[in-house]
């Protein structure tokens, strides 16, 4: 325990004294948020996105056949309605109940009502209300998740590979320190760093951007820890053997880039093909972002995101076990 604490403290000191990596950890997400706010502030949709249940027969809803309508499949009515409430869908067509849901607080609400009356006169129109979720509200859980991913993978991965390359690991191996003490200190140190940085960004976003945060802070924290743990463990696997920073960097990029684009950081995967959605389920980042977005935007509780938490927990344990098993002090 004494060795663990000493290693943990030493690693934290090294991090905050290394001004380069400290600046990167804070500046990168801030720049990403500013970038998003600027680029997407005047977002215009020319199409109408209309939700429909996956198993519904769309032939009975002629509106969905129109060229200016983009149907998006959902598994549950609740989920689709939530999107309508948050202005992310223009309407939801419940084919089985001959009902169209529109949000009257949305600027296009009345347009879609008239379109529905014109194309599907037999359908009754039901109205719902809800404040629009701005893109920034939607994207911020993604950016926080992405920040956890980069911090976890590169932080742990690069540091261990560099230690191995320059002989720090070899020197530690010549002491009574065990691999478990060393690795757990690296993991905990990195988690502390990531969570501190994310908390700072989160508070700044709440204060400066009036961020939507409906769910519990504790739930969000727990999900972040689980996600961070799973991602740090992947970093351990990458850095378990090699002493080449180039190889480690290549592998880390190979992992982070698909996750950055396919885990729902920047855009919703609701409209993506099913096979792609299934594929993105293998990324821990997908589950981290899904769960935190659900908590922040929909006020989900930990029970609501049990699936995501379980997946992240299992991934953490499996990856950690593999990483610890593969770990070598020397190249």
């Amino acid at each position: 325990m004494k060795s663990f604490i000493a290693l943990l403290v030493a690693r934290n000191k090294e991090f905050y004294r290394d001004k380069g990596s400290l600046a990167w950890a804070v500046l990168f997400p801030v720049m990403a948020i500013i970038g998003c706010t600027l680029v997407f502030s005047s977002e215009q949709n020319t199409l109408f996105s209309v939700g429909v249940l996956n198993d519904a027969s769309t032939e009975q809803a002629p509106l969905l056949q129109q060229p200016f309508i983009k149907p998006i499949g959902y598994t549950t009515t609740d989920k689709a309605l939530q999107r309508v409430k948050q202005h992310q869908l223009h309407a939801f067509v419940d084919v089985a109940k001959n009902t169209v849901w529109v949000n009257v607080q949305s600027s296009q609400g009345s347009v879609i009502k008239q379109l529905s009356a014109a194309h599907m006169p037999s359908f009754s129109v039901k109205e719902t209300t809800g404040k629009a979720i701005r893109y920034i509200d939607w994207v911020l859980p993604g950016i926080l998740g992405m920040n956890i991913m980069f911090g976890a993978l590169f932080g742990v991965g690069y540091v261990i590979v560099r230690y191995r390359k320059n002989g720090v690991l070899k020197r530690l191996n010549a002491t009574p320190v065990t691999a478990m003490q060393f690795l757990s200190a690296q993991i905990v140190s990195r988690l502390l760093i990531i969570l501190t940085a994310n908390t700072a960004i989160f508070i700044a976003a709440i204060v400066l951007l009036d961020l939507t945060m409906i769910g519990s802070y504790v739930s969000l924290f727990i999900v972040s820890v689980l996600g961070g743990f799973a991602l740090v463990s992947i970093g351990l696997i990458i850095s378990s053997r090699t002493d080449s920073e180039e190889l480690a960097g290549g592998l880390l990029n190979l992992l982070t880039w698909p996750m950055m684009f396919l885990s729902g950081v920047w855009f919703s995967l609701d409209a993506a093909p099913t096979w792609l959605q299934a594929l993105t389920d293998v990324f821990p980042l997908t589950h981290l972002i899904n769960a935190s977005r659900d908590i922040m935007l929909n006020g989900a509780t930990l029970i609501d995101v049990t699936y995501e938490c379980t997946v992240l927990g299992v991934m953490s344990i499996v990856f950690l076990a593999i990483g610890a098993y593969l770990f070598r002090w020397n190249h």
Partner: protein, 298 residues
């Protein structure tokens, strides 16, 4: 009583035999040198003993018993090349390494022992070569070990830092600790080592105390004379000096002799100018040259 016994140690890397069936014993309290050129197998040997790399075959005993993982509580280790955590100061690195051991020396003892006082709060990256080596020595001494392994500790240091480091090692020896040192500096070996082995191509080619080794291999000193002294092959051939004992180099000649007094008298009789005469005893460097036929730093 030997603190360390190495028997029939062999290490193969694929088809390459880095260490080839070597055996030696280190008595308690001596400074034991492993000498040899780069690639002789010194580092491989010392790292096998330290437990860093496994041996292909052979037996190593510490105080008569086989070495276990527990050995690193009793051994002090300084590798040839070690980087330290970048953003930690001298005293922070000491306290980090102290946390790994059950009965470490205090920071102040280590600072005094290894002359670290002038840079206790300096980051590792900003230390000079000599300061780094002293800090690494302090890390090797942190658990108050009975045996210390130093792998080429002064390579790359300037002569002044090297001398200072030697003084520290003598200080450590005075505490009764056993030191196993590898070096390719013959001067370092003759200054520090009580006993040594000379290695080349993974094998031991000579073993003993420095003085004993020189006595065994050289029965003579040599006279070095510039050609401005007037010495020529003709003069030597006309004299009682054995031509076989003379080596003709580019700028000077070396006359090996077991009877320096008589040889000098002969040279005076031959009217050779002795103003720039040098008389030298054979060094470990000469011994190495004689044993291997190539120079140590090649």
């Amino acid at each position: 009583m030997n603190i360390l016994d190495v028997k029939h140690l062999t290490k193969e890397f694929g088809k390459f035999t880095a260490v080839n069936d070597i055996s030696f014993s280190i008595p308690q309290g001596v400074c034991f040198g492993l000498l040899g050129p780069n690639g002789a197998g010194k580092t491989t040997t010392i790292e096998i003993i330290e437990g860093i790399i496994p041996a292909t075959s052979g037996d190593i005993r510490f105080n008569g018993t086989p070495i276990t993982r527990d050995f690193n509580q009793h051994a002090g280790i300084q590798f040839q090349q070690t980087s330290l955590p970048d953003y930690l100061s001298t005293v922070e690195i000491l306290s980090l390494f102290r946390s790994f051991y059950t009965n470490p020396l205090s920071e102040n003892e280590l600072i005094a022992l290894c002359d670290l006082g002038e840079f206790t709060n300096t980051y590792a990256t900003r230390l000079s070569g000599g300061q780094r080596q002293r800090l690494l020595l302090a890390l090797a001494l942190i658990n108050d070990p009975s045996i210390i392994f130093l792998d080429e500790p002064t390579t790359g240091l300037d002569p002044q830092s090297r001398r200072r480091f030697w003084q520290l090692i003598n200080r450590v020896k005075e505490q009764g600790k056993t030191v196993l040192l590898t070096t390719h500096y013959m001067e370092e070996a003759s200054f520090l080592c009580d006993e040594l082995i000379i290695m080349d191509h993974g094998q031991i080619i000579a073993q003993g105390t420095p003085d004993r080794l020189l006595l065994d291999h050289f029965d003579s000193s040599y006279i070095s004379l510039n050609y401005s002294s007037g010495i020529t092959r003709e003069i030597i051939n006309s004299s009682s000096i054995d031509p076989e004992s003379v080596t003709w180099l580019e700028e000077k000649c070396l006359i090996f002799s077991a009877h320096i007094h008589d040889t000098i008298r002969t040279l005076i009789d031959l009217n050779v100018q002795l103003n720039d005469i040098q008389i030298q005893h054979a060094s470990l460097e000469d011994l190495f040259l004689k044993l291997t036929g190539h120079s140590l730093r090649e």
